[in-house]
């Protein structure tokens, strides 16, 4: 009986869920180790993200950039590419969006449209470089996108104080006006003053579009073929190089949109000296969502909950907020070592069958 249930659920889902369980267990151990009560900790963590409509809105807002970076990483993964540069693409995209938001004056819908497009183009530009280097010179995309991350970091480090300097601080840009922000009144009111914004809709629309591209179009078929086996794809007449460039460009654009969701949605200015951690969390989101758009959506909301609840947990207990990041890192580690979990599952199934 139990065996049949185990067989019906996709293996990837079981692996993801187990990775989450192990991550949470590791978090509990760290809480215990530092003299705190894990049950109390998790209760406050979850309550902090869900206990009223405003906090629920904040959870969704925190999840929005994660949906987009997760989608960015997942999309590249499906083409057999590892986009570790989502962070830099996101930063540069967010910078472009902020620059538009601070310099252009237009009616809100037009201004937002241009900012978001600028973010997408900025991210695509940053993402296409590793793609081109990979297709033309066979440079590994991981190394080149790490370099691109730090180039973005330093470009923004100098560009923001020079061009978009805020009134008081050297380390951040001017605040964008309400007109230029992705926050809209009806949504803010609906969620009792939460900072939830249109970034969530950018994320959800992207999930639908990417799911459509991957599953229903020729482009998606070609991209996935390249991901499964680039030699077989080439033999079948698919241009591998073109698809690599295209995949990195789209992946970069998605990360750029995450930049818009973060810097002109959740935040209202851009700070220097930080590579947005959401870019790296995107790897976790993508892995946990087994590289599918819908899985990414679910994983991003879960991580959004961890991140938005950690402040409340920290206020109510002595547990440092970094526990959330520790849990996420542990989940990635277990997702990376999923072979271990899969082997365990296989052994379990064999045992059952033996009985």
């Amino acid at each position: 009986m139990k065996l049949s249930i185990l067989n019906k659920i996709p293996k990837s889902l079981i692996v993801s869920l187990l990775a989450v369980v192990f991550g949470l267990l590791a978090g509990a151990l760290f809480m215990l180790f530092t003299g705190n009560n894990p049950f109390e900790g998790y209760t406050y963590l979850i309550r902090g993200g869900t206990m009223n409509i405003e906090r629920l809105g904040n959870t969704l807002a925190t999840a929005s950039p994660l949906i987009l970076t997760g989608l960015s990483v997942a999309f590249a993964f499906r083409t057999g590419l590892f986009n570790i540069g989502a962070s830099g693409q996101m930063l540069f995209g967010g910078f472009c969006a902020t620059a538009v938001a601070l310099t252009l004056s237009a009616p809100k819908p037009i201004l937002l449209l241009i900012s978001v497009i600028a973010a997408g183009i900025g991210g695509a530009l940053w993402g296409v470089v590793p793609g081109l280097l990979k297709s033309k010179f066979n440079v590994h995309e991981v190394v080149s996108s790490i370099m691109m991350n730090w180039i973005a970091y330093w470009v923004i480090y100098y560009a923001v104080p020079t061009y978009l300097k805020g009134a008081f601080l050297e380390t951040e840009s001017k605040k964008i006006s309400h007109e230029a922000s992705l926050r809209v009144d009806w949504l803010t009111n609906l969620f009792d003053g939460s900072y939830i914004n249109l970034g969530l809709f950018i994320g959800i629309i992207s999930v639908i579009v990417i799911a459509f591209i991957l599953n229903k179009t020729v482009l998606g078929y070609e991209l996935k073929s390249v991901g499964f086996n680039r030699y077989a794809a080439e033999y079948a007449g698919i241009s591998v190089n073109k698809n690599i460039v295209l995949a990195m460009m789209i992946s970069g654009a998605l990360a750029g949109l995450a930049g818009a969701a973060l810097y002109i949605g959740n935040a209202s200015n851009i700070q220097i000296g930080i590579l947005p951690p959401q870019g790296f969390d995107g790897i976790a989101v993508s892995l946990l969502g087994s590289n599918t758009p819908i899985g990414v959506l679910a994983a991003a909301i879960f991580f959004g909950l961890l991140y938005s609840g950690k402040g409340f947990m920290n206020a109510m207990t002595n547990i440092p907020p970094e526990i959330a990041d520790t849990i996420i890192a542990t989940i990635i580690y277990f997702a990376a070592t999923s072979v271990l979990i899969e082997k365990g599952l296989d052994r379990l199934k064999k045992k059952r069958r033996g009985n």
């Binding site: 760290f30 530092t34 003299g35 590892f82 570790i84 470089v129 280097l133 010179f137 066979n138 440079v139 590994h140 991981v142 190394v143 080149s144 790490i146 370099m147 691109m148 991350n149 730090w150 180039i151 970091y153 330093w154 470009v155 480090y157 100098y158 560009a159 590579l275 790296f280 790897i283 976790a284 892995l287 440092p320 970094e322 526990i323 959330a324 990041d325 520790t326 996420i328 890192a329 542990t330 990635i332 580690y333 997702a335 990376a336 070592t337 999923s338 072979v339 271990l340």
Partner: protein, 316 residues
Amino acid sequence: MWTLIAQIFPYAIAFTIPLLITALGGLFSERSGVVNIGLEGLMVVGSFSAAMVIYSLQPTMSIDIAVWIGLLAAALAGGLFSLLHAFASINLNANQVISGTAINMMAGALTVFLARNVTGSGNIPIVRGLIRRNIPVLSEIPIIGRLFFTGTYATTWLVLVILFIGWFVIYKTSYGLRLRACGEHPHAADSAGVNVYKTRYIAVIISGAFSGLGGGILLVTIAGEFTGSVAGLGFLALASLIFGQWKPLGILGATAFFGIASTIANVSSVIPMLQVIPGVLLKVFPYVVTLIALVAFSKSSQAPKAAGEPYEKGKR
């Protein structure tokens, strides 16, 4: 001009040394066939451990001794933490890039988490780090004495000695030959009786210990406080490794080059003569140069052929 160079030089060396030792660690790991992008995280672990040890020892003993115990702890902790990466990439055939990313994230989060339990703020200050000393006799030599032997840290000499030993081990010992064989063609190495798993384990632990030491040196020479990050130095070390084409002397050149560029960028705002060079150019310089090097060497890259690929015994 001379005074300017003499002023900047000690800073450039101080900045180069943690990079150099970390890149050397990366060299061991990658030459054995395991890509380690967790260098950044391992440096953070080292910096944290050194800070913890010095912070708790400084009331009871002389700072100078505490600093050295701290550095030892940094290397040990880095080596221990790298076991996570070794286990994932050697035993479980995990994607080494994902495992390395997990190391980076875990190090950043876990160390601050633990630091908060100790100091409350997540930062760990130390009273002071190492003291710069003049080398007797040698510092009297004109020009060279002023540049290389005046106001140096003991760790600088330690790292240079390690670099020499590392070069010797890699090129002149049987372990080094095995190590390189595992990175180029593990199956051939295995058929010649080399234990690929063991060789790679040792290499990854060395990379962890060296990166941890790098983080510790950064703390006691430049930073003076643990803040939960090493500001991308681990990735800069990775860039040096590639720019130095996976060779000990190559990375010495690359790290010195990047160290000087970063130092000039850091001081350019206060020194009028350097203000003509935009800081952003100096800061992105190492990364752009690495990208160019990747393209230039793409046909004749010296990268270990099996780096990044899990070794499966039965696979042909």
